[in-house]
Each structure stands twice: as structure tokens, then as C-alpha cells.
Amino acid sequence: MDFFFKDIEHGEPIKWDFLINDINNSLTYNRYCKSGNYYHVLKHIITSLIIGEEIILLDSDFTDSELVNLTGYSEYEEFTQIIDKGSFPLVCDKVELIDKLRNTCNEWKVTLFTSGTTGIPKKVTHNFKSITRFVKISERNKNSIWGFAYNPTHMAGIQVFFQGLLNGNPIVRLFGLTPKEIHREIKENGITHISATPTFYKLLLPCEETFQSITRITSGGEKFNEKTIVQLKGIFPNAKITNVYASTEAGTLFASDNDIFSIKPEYEHLIRIANDELLIHKSLMGSSDMNIEEWYNTGDLIETITEKPLKFRFISRKSDMINVGGYKVNPLEVEETILTLQGIKNVRVYSKSNSVLGNIICCEVVCDNKQISESSIRTFLQSKIQEFKIPRIIRFVEELSTTRTGKIKRN
């Protein structure tokens, strides 16, 4: 089985030859990439690598107002440029394509957006070296078949894509499919590797089938509980289960077989712990709009298990960010958006723990307009922010509940 990408929404797998022809025949390039079609996004990334131009990845469900906030525009037609075919000779086959991609120039960069801590999502840019730091290219990985369980415009999705692509592995879309479809795709394509959030795996359970082809399960983005791990071992009997710690700012940093992480000796001098918070040296980071000093505060609180060698366990987040099934939601961003709706006097966005997603977004609103209803708030928000940021439970109150120090309660 050798193909580039399979997405059941588009039927038959897309062969390498089709991809190469498609790229060879592309006459124009636009550095802004926003599409709900996974193949288009992946091809767009490959084209950017070949011509050595920046690519800016936008979630397909960003609303126009989010786009204007993030990029200053909501339409990107004017950024279309002609590809100078003279400078980029045609690619003839898969081997040549992968060889070219592995030798991507230093000028190439990818920009993506992460939920910021101040209310506005922030922009993070990585070059080829920083985004592929943890890609393993080897004989052993040559025959892997990847289940693609992330959004391709997010950090984790790009990293899985590069791991598969640079090893020439077939990639099969699993993200957004129903459990039944996911089971079928794993079996039919003999998928060997999946990297996904714990929520993705939880939604596959309970499952009576077993999948022998899977040899590696990787999970990150939120805490995995023991029970889920036991259940996953049952349905993927041949799989090694690994946890990773990664962030949009730094990419994948550590991996572990359980919840205790250890640092490779070569990275030890780039990691520090201060007041139980994990700090990362700026040389491990992508560049962003923020002014990063020598050390970056990750906002992740850890418990040190041994100091030499350094081993630790993640305890919680220092910031107010709410983790909804692996997606980080900034309650301030949601509050600011709700407050722009006329008639809303005050709002408090908070999280409630949830057995499906880890956390669910809720809010309390104070309003002076009888016309405002739960559904009118939702309809308003649907045009302003992404679906996973919209409160699922909205309560109308006379006044907001506050903590004893007068701060707004978050949970």
C-alpha cells in the first residue's frame, strides 16, 4: 500500500503521482492557507516548502472577525503570486520529492495561531529546523502508516504530517470521522501509528474490536487517565503508548511511557524549573510577537520527581486557559466577544469539569435586554469565534459570582 493521503470524504486514496502532478501544474501560490479540505492544506504546505516561501495556516472555521483580528484581513486574493517555474524544476517522482523536502531551505517558515493569554490569539512562526526537531527519519519508520487525528493547521497536526511525509508514509485522515468510520479506516488501511488527544481516544471507547496493526499510540494536549490507558491497551494489543508534552510555541519537547517525563541530556541545560513552573530556553522556541526573554514561562506547573537526572510530572496550568478536549480556550477572549453583544452588561466565562472533554465552557451573563436568549447569544458567537470556544451552558443571572477577594470565579 503506497499512497500520499486518504480522506474518505474524497473517496479513493490520493497517489504520490497525483500529488506530484498537481504540484508541478500549480501556477500560483498564496501564502495564506485556509481550507476545510485536508488535501488542499497538505498540498499547500508541500508547495510552500518546494518554493521556499512562508505559509500562514488559518483554521477553516475561523470567522471573518477572527481573521481580521489575527491577520488584518478576511480575504486573501490579493496575496496570490505567480510561481516562477524557471526557478523550480518539475519534480519527477516520490523519491525526488521527499529528498527535496528534507532539504528545505532556511528561508521557509510556517506561521500559525495559538490562543493567547491576553484575549487575542497570538502568532507563532517556526522554521523547518524547529518544526522538524523531533521528526525521526529512519529505516524503521519507512513502513509506518499514519492515522491523522489532528487539525492540519494546528501545531500537533503539522508535526504528525512532517513525521509521515518525510518518511514517505501514507497518511489517512481520522480527525472528524465517526468511531465506526475510524475503526474501518484503521482496519482497511492497516494503520500502524496514531497521534491524538486523549479525547479522541476516549471517543473510540468502548470498543469490542481489537486492532492488531497499530504499533504506536501517542497522546498529548491533556491528561490521560489510567483507566483509558488500560482500555486502549485492550483494543490496541500490539501498541506502545507514549505521552508527549508539546506546545504551539515550542513544538514537541518531551515524550514518556507514562505520566513521568524525563529530559534527554542534550536538552537538560535548556530546561529550568522556577516556583514549580516549567521554563524553556528561548532557543527551543519558534519566534512570535511576544518579547521572549532568555527563558519562556510555559505556565505549566510540575512536580519534580528527581533532580538529577531531571524527572517530573505535570500537575496543572498556571494560567486561566481552559482545555476543552485538547483545544485551549482563553476565557478572556470569549468574555470580550460576548460583551460586544448589545444588551450584555457583564459576563463570566468559566469551566466545568466534564467526563467527555475534560472541561466544558460555561458562562453566566447579566443583561438588561429581555430579548437576549441563550440561542441569540450562540447565534451571535457563531459568527465571531470558533465553535469549541462557544459556551455550551449559558445561565442568566442578576449578578456575577465572585471569589472572596472580589475576583471573578473561573471554576
Partner: protein
């Protein structure tokens, strides 16, 4: 358990499911059947399932997803009836 209670509970669950569907501007159901699959047939995604569990918990004080994922309508009733 008598049939009367059964139909009352069924009505309530249908109402909750329809609230969740309506919140996402998805088409409402006219009736429930026990073999309906929450994701494959009703079209719930993980955000919808999370909301469903909160709304059911608010009504019956039972977290239907506490011990793993519930797949069908009949499994919801089993959880609520403590089976």
C-alpha cells in the same frame, strides 16, 4: 420500572437531545428510538456529547459518561435506570 415513567423519561431525553441539536443549528428529531447511535445516527460530535452529559446530569444527577462512553440511546436509559 413502569411504562409511564419510561415514556416521561423518553420525552425528557428527546427534549434534551433536541436542545443540543438546536444549539448547533442542526435539525431536530421528531422521535427517539432505542437503537439510535448518538454519533453515527444523531450526528453528535464530542462538543455535543459533552453538552448532553451536562444537561442530563443537571436533570437526573447522573453523569452518563462517567465510566466510559455511551454510544446509543438505549445505553443512556440503562445508565439512568442504574443498570
Amino acid at each position: 420500572m413502569n411504562n409511564k415513567m419510561d415514556s416521561k423519561m423518553e420525552e425528557k431525553i428527546l427534549e434534551i437531545i433536541n436542545t443540543v441539536l438546536d444549539n448547533r443549528t442542526k435539525e431536530k428529531l421528531t422521535a427517539l428510538s432505542s437503537e439510535m447511535h448518538l454519533r453515527n445516527d444523531i450526528g453528535f460530535d464530542s462538543l455535543d456529547l459533552a453538552e448532553l452529559t451536562v444537561r442530563i446530569e443537571a436533570e437526573y444527577d447522573i453523569d452518563i459518561f462517567e465510566d466510559g462512553i455511551v454510544n446509543t440511546v438505549s445505553e443512556i436509559f440503562q445508565k439512568l435506570n442504574g443498570k
